[in-house]
Amino acid sequence: MVINMLELKGICFSAEDESREVEILNDINLTIDDRFVAVTGPNGSGKSTLAKIIAGILTPTAGQIFLDGVDITDKSITERANMGISFAFQQPVRFKGITVRELLSIASGREASVTEICDMLSEVGLCARDYVNREVNASLSGGELKRIEIAMIMARGTKVSIFDEPEAGIDLWSFQNLIRVFEKMYEEINGSILIISHQERILNIADKIILMADGQIKKVGSKEEVMPELLGCGQPCKTLADKL
């Protein structure tokens, strides 16, 4: 199997907050050539920012990104999408008037038949009959949107698939089902999955775990290597610790 390589060199990102420069990512160097990589770390450590920089939604203040050796730092979101990068948003977007079928057709790059839509939706535990012609609007729950978002990424089947906290905003029961989707994806995918998650069961599937804190990479390695660090990271202050 061909493993595709995503490489980040010296990525920095800072944003302005009340006329003060805040550093969000500081000198990130990373090579992703595994099938399933999990990024974890405390809130505010820069994980989502990193994902958005890879997808082209945010532009780094310094550094370069390579996909299979090609510098994509200056490529637009659309160009990166067509070169093989997919990105599942942490908060899926709603569209008045656009149906599940249309969205999945856009994702797969052609007019998908009902049978194909059925295949895509059943992968994420949804029955096509109930969803094919539903509008992707406020009538769908957070969990349903999340699954449709994941189905879109699977329909694309690109070299690199990035998921930003797929567990966020869905109930535990839905999550139990979702985890199976990722376990299955691990078996079937012909590319790399980069998944931002706090969930131990997701971390369990990963070939490699990247631990981030304070805009930097603290540790990269197997679960056994990274977990002890994870527990020591983002130590609560004494007042909070006393209450825990």
Binding site: F95, K96, I98
Partner: protein, 305 residues
């Protein structure tokens, strides 16, 4: 009928050939074709331009097409059409107006449609407006719709103006009886320097009656839109109006809703939202491989579908 008129007819009424059921086709101010059925009669008015459409009580699943096409530059006309829908009838009425203006003089069509819907009758009314032609003469349409719903009657109106009308002032007035209901779906897209104004006035008079006005519009380039709605609840009723607009480029959109409750059991709601396309919607579609322009088209088409 020539090719230009055929094309207009297809745009406004989806007609490729002579429709089934009753119809009256008006082209350049003249009657071009008419058909009546055992239950639906069409009579030319004698005092002014227009027709009376009489639908017998109990008529079921029949349709009436009354499209109008204008291809002669500079033609201005006002047409008065009255619909009398008998008790318990259940019919579909398809109107529509297409203007092709290849000249420099303004072409204008003002259709004044009045509906008298008798007890427990059901009407679905579809109206499409379309303009074409490369002349610099303006294409103007000013439709007026007047709806009278007797007790238990219902009317669902779909009105669409997607392209090519330079100026429009759409006035809709309705009065609603007991247990009667009115639903209006309006879709408008303006571009260039077009102007569209919509003005609804609905008196909800009967108990257990309802009205639901839903307007979706897209204003592009330098176009302007004005949405006015006035719902007056005089009985124990439900009234809801919704104006949802996407604004683009240098366009301008105003929404002026008005609600009046004259009865303690009148329940009236208005929702209005005007805004540009959400950045995250564009971004999502771009991460699926669409360009920004393609993404914008998808969002607008979906919104107005």
């Amino acid at each position: 009928m020539d090719a230009i008129q055929q094309n207009l007819l297809e745009q406004v009424a989806g007609l490729h050939e002579i429709p089934a059921g009753a119809y009256n086709i008006r082209a350049n101010g003249q009657m071009a074709a008419r058909n009546t059925t055992a239950n639906i009669d069409i009579i030319t008015k004698e005092d002014k331009s227009g027709i009376d459409i009489r639908i017998r009580p109990g008529t079921k699943s029949e349709s009436v097409h009354i499209p109008v096409v204008l291809s002669q530059s500079g033609l201005k006309e006002s047409v008065y059409n009255d619909f009398f829908v008998g008790e318990d009838a259940d019919v579909t009425i398809i109107a529509g107006c297409g203007i092709h203006n290849g000249g420099s003089a303004a072409s204008e069509h003002s259709g004044i449609h009045r509906f008298f819907v008798d007890k427990n009758a059901k009407v679905r009314y579809v109206e499409k407006h379309y303009g074409a032609g490369d002349g610099n003469g303006e294409r103007i349409m000013n439709p007026t719709t007047e709806i009278h719903l007797a007790d238990g009657a219902s009317l669902e109106m779909e009105t669409v103006q997607i392209k090519g009308i330079d100026s429009t002032k759409r006035v809709t007035k309705a009065e609603i009886g007991e247990k009667a209901s009115l639903v209006i779906h309006e879709k408008i897209m303006t571009h260039g320097r077009q102007y569209a104004e919509t003005d609804f006035t609905v008196d909800v008079n009967g108990d257990d009656s309802s009205v639901n006005l839903i307007s979706r519009s897209v204003a592009k380039e330098q176009s302007r839109q004005l949405f006015k709605s006035k719902i007056v609840g005089n009985g124990k009723c439900q009234g809801h109006s919704e104006c949802d607009a996407i604004i683009m480029d240098g366009a301008s959109v105003s929404a002026i809703p008005e609600l009046t409750a004259n009865n303690i059991d009148a329940n009236l709601i208005h929702e209005a939202a005007i805004g540009k396309i959400a950045g995250e919607q564009l971004m999502k579609l771009m991460t699926l491989g669409l360009t920004e322009k393609e993404a914008e088209e998808q969002i607008v088409n979906g919104f107005l579908k």
